[in-house]
């Protein structure tokens, strides 16, 4: 497999990932397997590149004071345990179930993106005792309205175990699982969308590192292949994020959603057909 091809595919994956809001890994892994890479190796290389894209984005979000560090650090305890378990599982299972699982997760994520509410507001629900004990209320400056938004989290006792599941998927399939994390923040913990997406980004870096450590020990990470993928996906995500600020075009969004749907169905079909 040519590093030039890996690089170009990764640029495209980073770009589509940033434009669609799904993250790079979800596009990268099907693309790498289409190039003929073993799915386990594709998963291992993808999760290393997830460390790069999420850390790069998190740096900007944290300094803009959008990220809730305390909520993130509480939930990281759960995601890393899930990621270690998930990655260990991938090392031992056969390939076909991984294709099926990947297809299903892609389609589920795609569905949540399709029905995404535009912006969730801060919850008005009463805070439970456990979440109050966590002492993680926050505020951020909203540029659109020019106001400081104050918010509090709820049901952290539910968010923890759910995040363990999100970490499991991230480690198992080598993706950030950002859409799932954002959904948990939104539905279970009542955080506003801006805080949910940026805090999810912070957690993804550490979760991907836990997964990476397992794949590294399993000998699945080839630096000669990982390097062009990391460079490509960082470049693609960088350009995609810049463009996203300028063009919020519904047509483009729909085009990407169709591409992602096709990839999900393709992975599922490959998994099911191989099993028969």
């Amino acid at each position: 497999m040519l590093p030039e091809a890996l690089f170009l595919v990764s640029v495209a994956a980073g770009f589509v990932g940033a434009m669609s809001g799904m993250g790079g890994g979800v596009v990268l892994i099907p693309a790498l397997t289409l190039l003929g890479m073993d799915i386990k190796q594709a998963i291992a290389i993808s999760i290393v590149s997830v460390v790069a894209t999420s850390s790069g984005a998190a740096a900007a979000y944290v300094r803009d004071r959008l990220t809730n560090l305390k909520v993130g650090m509480f939930l990281e305890m759960f995601t890393i345990v899930g990621a270690l378990a998930g990655a260990s599982l991938t090392l031992v299972v056969p390939q076909q179930p991984l294709y099926v699982a990947f297809g299903l997760v892609l389609l589920a994520t795609w569905t949540t993106l399709l029905f995404q509410r535009q912006q969730a507001e801060a919850t008005t629900a009463r805070q439970d005792r456990f979440t109050r004990w966590l002492d993680c209320d926050g505020s951020y400056y909203d540029q659109a309205s020019g106001q400081t938004v104050r918010y509090h989290a709820v049901r952290a006792y539910l968010g923890g175990p759910l995040m363990c599941g999100a970490g499991l998927i991230a480690g198992l399939l080598g993706v950030g699982a950002g859409a799932i994390k954002v959904l948990i923040f939104d539905v279970a913990m009542g955080l506003p969308t801006k805080v949910a997406t940026t805090t999810s980004n912070l957690i993804i870096g550490v979760t991907a590192l836990a997964g990476t450590s397992v794949y590294l020990a399993g000998g699945l990470i080839d630096p000669g292949l990982a390097a062009p993928v990391i460079l490509g996906i960082v470049l693609g995500a960088f350009v995609g994020t810049r463009l996203l600020v300028r063009l919020r075009n519904q047509v483009i969004r729909r085009f990407f959603l169709i591409v992602l749907l096709a990839l999900g169905v393709e992975m599922l079909v490959r998994g099911v057909r191989g099993a028969l």
Binding site: L2, P3, E4, V48, V51, A52, S55, G56, A58, A59, A60, V62, R63, R65, T67, L69, K70, M73, F74, E76, M77, I80, V81, L84, W133, L134, D135, D137, S139, G205, V206, A208, L209, A210, T212, S213, V214, L216, A217, G219, I221, D222, P223, G224, A226, A227, P228, I230, L231, V234
Partner: protein, 134 residues
């Protein structure tokens, strides 16, 4: 509860802001350095050999052994494309690790927040263990 009491009694007016600056800085520098090392390594290899494929694996080595071997070579001045790429990968993986370590030290020593020092300490310990896996 006011913001300053919620965040412990650290130095200055807004201790949480120190922490956010620190975390943001670690992540930014780590990713930029890593990308620069990877790009330099690949370009050097390509310029020297005309081939873009860098062939080597890391089988049977824990991350810390890998890091130690790289640092020894770097200190010995044995720079070559492969070493730059290895250092790039190592820098990338150290970035979130150091971010967690810095958060732990911040909560434990500056903010004196036992709860969050325990949380980040747990994450740090699990990551340290997992990076020793081989």
């Amino acid at each position: 509860m006011s913001e300053s009491s919620a965040l412990g009694h650290g130095r200055g007016a807004a201790p949480a802001q120190d922490m956010e600056t620190l975390v943001g800085y670690i992540l930014q520098v780590g990713v930029l350095l890593s990308v620069a090392l990877l790009a330099a390594g690949l370009l050097w290899h390509w310029a020297a050999t005309g081939s873009s494929r860098l062939d080597y694996t890391l089988a049977g080595m824990s991350f810390f052994q890998f890091l130690l071997a790289d640092l020894q070579q770097a200190l010995a001045g044995a720079f070559r494309p492969r070493l730059l790429v290895s250092l790039g990968i190592a820098t990338l993986l150290l970035t979130p690790y150091l971010r967690v370590a810095a958060s732990f030290l911040y909560f434990a020593l500056v903010a004196r927040d036992g709860k969050y020092a325990t949380f980040t300490g747990f994450v740090w310990a699990v990551l340290t263990y997992s990076l020793f896996l081989r």
